[in-house]
Amino acid sequence: MSRGAGQGDRLSRFQELFLGFQIDSISGEVAALLDAGAAPKEILSASQRCMEEIGKAFEEGSYYLPELIVAGEMFKRVTERIGPLLSSSAREVRGRIVLGTPKGDIHHLGKDIFRMLAEANDFVVYDLGVDVRPEAFVQKVAETGAEILGMSALITAGFDPMKEVMRLLEEKGLRRRVKVLIGGGVTTKEMVRKLGVDAQTLDAYEGVKIIQSLLMKAEAIA
């Protein structure tokens, strides 16, 4: 399908607004694009390109958490508007994640930011919330067949429940089919070995990159 010059200009303007973090204008611009006949898939792709560009700038250290958060919020506003118009095959699902803050810890900030970025990167997230019992994590992994389990902790109360999750995954025979990522201010790289998880991060964006790479490796092995 050929695209008119006006529509192409609007799409460029949309990307400029997105990359300029003009969050107040983004929903209006999506509506204008749809009125001008733009395909929802095209708007989604443009948003994803912007997200990638912002993510790259974050990786390079020129953008920080606020830019990522605003980008995630803009992406959310775009998908809320065009989501119902997209056919179910238009959005690829890259993987499924069971996510939560372990028992004893009620902090949700890191988890919420990770969730926002993971969803913007086409992951389906089953968010169990905070203060989650080890059994609940394992049960959800078994029930959904999720490829990834993510646990986020800001205080050391989460350490023992994380250990227990790993023990239960082994006991239920689920460990080999699920990759486990831990994150949060109190976690360290050393804990990967000590807990037997697959990866650790302090950074939600890096977390999304890690799970993408873990899944690619798992697919290559399979």
């Binding site: 606020p66 009620i106 804990m191």
Partner: protein
């Protein structure tokens, strides 16, 4: 504080208070001082109910003495305990859930992050004058997240706070006497969350991140409007408590939350105003810097030299911090929580040895955990932390004796 107090080790040349003052001035004392920021760990060490420990000053006192007896001595006593929930909420401006009330009896208190401040509250701050602006802001916000402040008229709320301040003063007076008897220096005369950081907490991170793009100038001006009144309250309270140090919480100002440019333009002006006023009053600001601060050091170098303690929590590379700002501020930290909980005494000792050798070189360093001691830390690891100050921490001729 009166007199330097007794020496806590035979080899010591200085009392803890003198040692602390010397490291703040970036001088080399007789030994690296050690601070143990113990709060939630106490009840687990002694098998005490957390709710009783947090709610009853007599229980708190008994527990802290027991922990000190078992693991001490060390140099700096972390006097964190509040005598009331209302006062705790007033200084930290966060919604706390307490054991024995919203949480089970035997767990530590936790913060529930709720959006209690609206975007229009920046305007409200800017409409008020400078005098008592921070106090007025806190009193206006408290009923929105602190149940003890709900359904109470502002005048009555102020009376209740004044009563709790007096109770805190009386409680700390007894603590101060005990500290002197032990030869301990007291860490805190007053503590409070900095204005910029209160905004981030009160709006919560996602709305606050949007504010940084939608109304940056209002954030900067509102924080600056609160700064002088905030600083005066800190100074007044620290004077009342009799300890010339103010612990200023910067939970949300690191590069983990905002960019160096946002720090420089939006957060630093109010931070600078607060810090300079505290220094001018002859007190030591302790900047409690959670997160990664590496890219903020350039701005921090504009603060007064040899007057400030910089507390790092393990997320800033303290070894690089020594190179970049160690000639300007006293560094405090930063044994990571996971080492204290999951590590061995040998691992803790090795890390402390490295801290002492590299960050402690030439003085200007206080050995401590990165932030508070975790409640589930292993006692043998805490002993290793304290003892490493005596094993490796001596300077000059005492080092080899």
């Amino acid at each position: 504080m009166k007199g330097p107090g007794k020496k806590i080790q035979e080899k010591d040349r200085l009392a803890a208070e003198e040692r602390l003052e010397q490291v703040v001035r970036l001088e080399e004392p007789d030994r690296v001082p050690v601070s143990m920021m113990i709060y939630y760990y106490g009840p687990f060490h002694t098998g005490t109910r957390m709710s009783a420990y947090m709610g009853r000053p007599d229980v708190y006192r008994k527990v802290t003495r027991k922990v000190y007896e078992d693991l001490g001595p060390w140099d700096i006593y972390y006097n964190i305990n509040p005598v009331s929930r209302l006062l705790y909420s007033f200084v930290l401006m966060m919604k706390y859930l307490f054991p024995g009330d919203e949480l089970p009896d035997d767990v530590m208190a936790q913060v529930e992050e709720i959006e209690y401040m609206k975007a229009e509250d920046y305007d409200r701050i800017l409409e008020t004058g400078y005098y008592f602006s921070d106090l007025a802001f806190r009193l206006r916000m408290l009923p929105r997240f602190c149940k003890e402040a709900q359904s109470i008229k502002p005048a009555r709320l102020w009376v209740l706070l004044a009563r709790d301040i007096v109770r805190q003063k009386l409680f700390w007076d007894r603590d101060l006497r005990w500290c002197r008897e032990q030869g301990l220096a007291m860490q805190i005369g007053f503590q409070a969350e900095m204005p910029f950081d209160v905004f981030s907490m009160a709006r919560t991170v996602i709305p606050f991140s949007l504010d940084l793009f939608q109304r940056p100038d209002k954030i900067r001006r509102a924080a600056l409007r609160l700064a002088p009144s905030f600083a005066e309250s800190c100074i007044w309270m620290a004077r009342l408590m009799g300890v010339p140090r103010v612990q200023c919480y910067c939970h949300r100002t690191s590069n983990s939350f905002i960019s160096p440019r946002q720090f420089e333009e939006l957060a630093f002006p109010s931070l600078e105003a607060v810090v300079c006023r505290i220094v001018e009053a002859g007190m030591t600001p302790i900047l409690h810097c959670d997160g990664d601060w590496m890219k903020n050091f350039k701005a921090l170098r504009r603060l007064p030299a040899k007057k400030i303690i910089l507390q790092l929590d393990g997320l800033t590379d303290i070894f690089r911090a020594k190179e970049e700002i160690g000639d300007h501020m006293c560094l405090f930290g930063d044994v990571p929580a996971d080492k204290l909980v999951m590590g061995s005494p040998q691992e803790v000792e090795e890390y402390c040895h490295r801290l002492i050798e590299e960050v402690g070189r030439g003085g200007g360093f206080i050995l401590a955990a990165g932030c508070e001691i975790p409640y589930n830390a292993r006692p043998e690891n805490l002993r290793a932390l304290v003892q490493s100050a005596y094993k490796y921490g001596y300077y000059g001729p005492q080092a080899s004796s």
